[in-house]
């Protein structure tokens, strides 16, 4: 290979590298032009310096021209992102919130199991092994969570850019009035995204993996998952699905519109009432005492009075009672929150 051929070979490689970084529809056209321009530029440079084209001269010319990635970027027009600058702050906040939630859940799980489950491992370092197990779970769940979030945000970036793009034509007379209490119309997009994310996960579990929908029991038998249906809980799945679907729809509308309005406040209030009705149905139609009744029927009232109840049954009775109390408290909280929203809407004139 002559020194000129060696120089032209550098250009060939360079153009190929730039082409690999360009969109396919641009590639052939841009690389053909770029090759012609680079060859001419190098030859002109050689003429001006009174020497022949060679590898050294071509290399210095290409270094001045710029790294292949940079040149391809300039040809590429608008930068392309997996998650662009508009969505990245929200993505980061959602990631932090969900990671914190997962971290707290894992920590509570570990502490609870450390306090309630008797050592059952082969060594005295059982709790250390348990801690490592929970750390591993934390790592797995956070990674899976991050993958789902990246995928979701990338889809939003790709398919819904127009919804969040500032509109070029606008009318100041159509701007929303400042609410009586400024700031009350503000929505947290990150919070809404987390809420939608959790609701979708819950809906998937409730509809497709109902056996996972339950509580975790720590006993001498080890950690056990008890599905709600085994505790006699009545779950009106279609009604719950409708409620969650409406909550997700309201969340998406709020994300797109970027603020609370009167109608969305009323919609939220209606959703709260709907949730309270569902909780009432669950409470009145569940047979959370059925385990107790079953055991008494099988073993006799005398054995129950003597508290001669095996731990397995005792744990489930306790779980059922705790669940009942939890649902009742949840219903009261929902009613109180709905009442406060109604008061705010009618008397405080919030957005």
């Amino acid at each position: 290979m002559t020194s000129r051929e060696a120089g032209l070979e550098l250009i060939r490689r360079y153009v190929y590298q730039v082409g690999e970084l360009l969109p396919p529809q641009q590639r052939d056209d841009v690389t053909a032009e770029l090759r012609s321009l680079l060859e001419e530029g190098v030859e002109e440079r050689a003429r001006a310096s009174g020497r022949e084209v060679d590898e050294e001269l071509t290399a210095s010319f290409l270094i001045e021209f710029g790294a292949p990635g940079k040149v391809a970027e300039r040809y590429g027009g608008e930068p392309r992102y997996l998650i662009g600058p508009r969505l990245f702050p929200t993505f980061l906040r959602v990631l932090k919130i969900t990671w914190a939630g997962i971290g707290v859940a894992c920590l509570v799980g570990f502490l609870f199991s450390a306090m309630t489950v008797p050592p059952c491992g082969p060594t005295e370092f059982w709790h250390v092994q348990d801690l490592l197990g929970w750390l591993l779970k934390f790592a797995q769940v956070t990674l899976a969570n991050m993958a789902i979030l990246i995928f979701t945000f990338a889809l939003v970036e790709r398919f819904l850019p127009a919804a969040w793009r500032p509109k070029s034509a606008w009318d100041p007379r159509k701007l929303a009035p400042v609410p009586a209490a400024p700031g009350t119309d503000r929505v947290s997009r990150a919070f809404l995204v987390v809420k939608i994310y959790v609701l979708v996960l819950l809906a998937v579990v409730l509809n497709f993996y109902p056996e996972w929908f339950g509580i975790v029991s720590f006993s001498s038998l080890g950690v056990q998952k008890i599905p709600f249906r085994d505790l006699g809980l009545y779950l009106p799945v279609p009604l719950i699905d409708v409620g969650w679907a409406m909550a997700v729809a309201l969340g998406i509308v709020l994300i797109v519109r970027g603020r609370w309005e009167r109608w969305s406040r009323w919609a939220e209030l209606a959703l709260g009432l709907y949730g309270a009705v569902i909780l009432w149905l669950i409470l009145t139609h569940s047979s959370l005492g059925s385990m107790h009744d079953t055991w008494v029927t099988q073993q006799g009232w005398k054995a129950f009075k003597n508290q001669n109840i095996p731990f397995y049954w005792r744990a489930r009775m306790l779980d059922a009672r705790m669940l009942y109390i939890f649902l009742a408290v949840w219903l009261l909280v929902t009613l109180a929150k709905t009442g406060k929203r109604l008061y705010d809407l009618l008397w405080k004139r919030t957005a």
Binding site: A32, E33, L37, E39, E40, F65, R74, Y75
Partner: protein, 112 residues
């Protein structure tokens, strides 16, 4: 883009200053048909040296915006892509030039 003869002004500020002016200069030069390298030379001869890595992608962008049109020609056994103003570019150039004149006058008044 080659640095203009300044020693203390950071490159990014120079780039910011030149960005809009370069578009106008390129459009003005392409009232007559030219290919990338000849355009670079003519701009350089006029005192507006630009590096190729900036100029050539700019030509493509202006073409995609409809301000330039291009065609391939073979000269001296080398294929070259020639650019010139499109009808839309020709209509746009006087307006841009008027805008430039007004801007430079205003900036001069402000800084002097």
């Amino acid at each position: 883009m080659k640095a203009i003869p300044t020693t203390d002004v950071p490159d990014n500020l120079v780039l910011e200053l030149r960005r809009g002016a370069v578009v106008l200069a390129v459009l003005a030069q392409l009232r007559t048909e030219q290919y990338g390298y000849s355009l670079k030379k003519s701009l350089g001869d006029a005192g507006l040296a630009m590096d190729e890595g900036t100029l050539y992608p700019l030509l493509r962008r202006l073409e995609s915006q409809g301000l330039l049109r291009s065609r391939w020609r073979v000269e001296d056994s080398r294929p070259r892509r020639y650019y010139r103003l499109s009808s839309q570019g020709e209509a746009m150039l006087p307006a841009l030039r008027a805008e430039w004149d007004s801007l430079t006058k205003a900036v001069r008044r402000v800084i002097e």
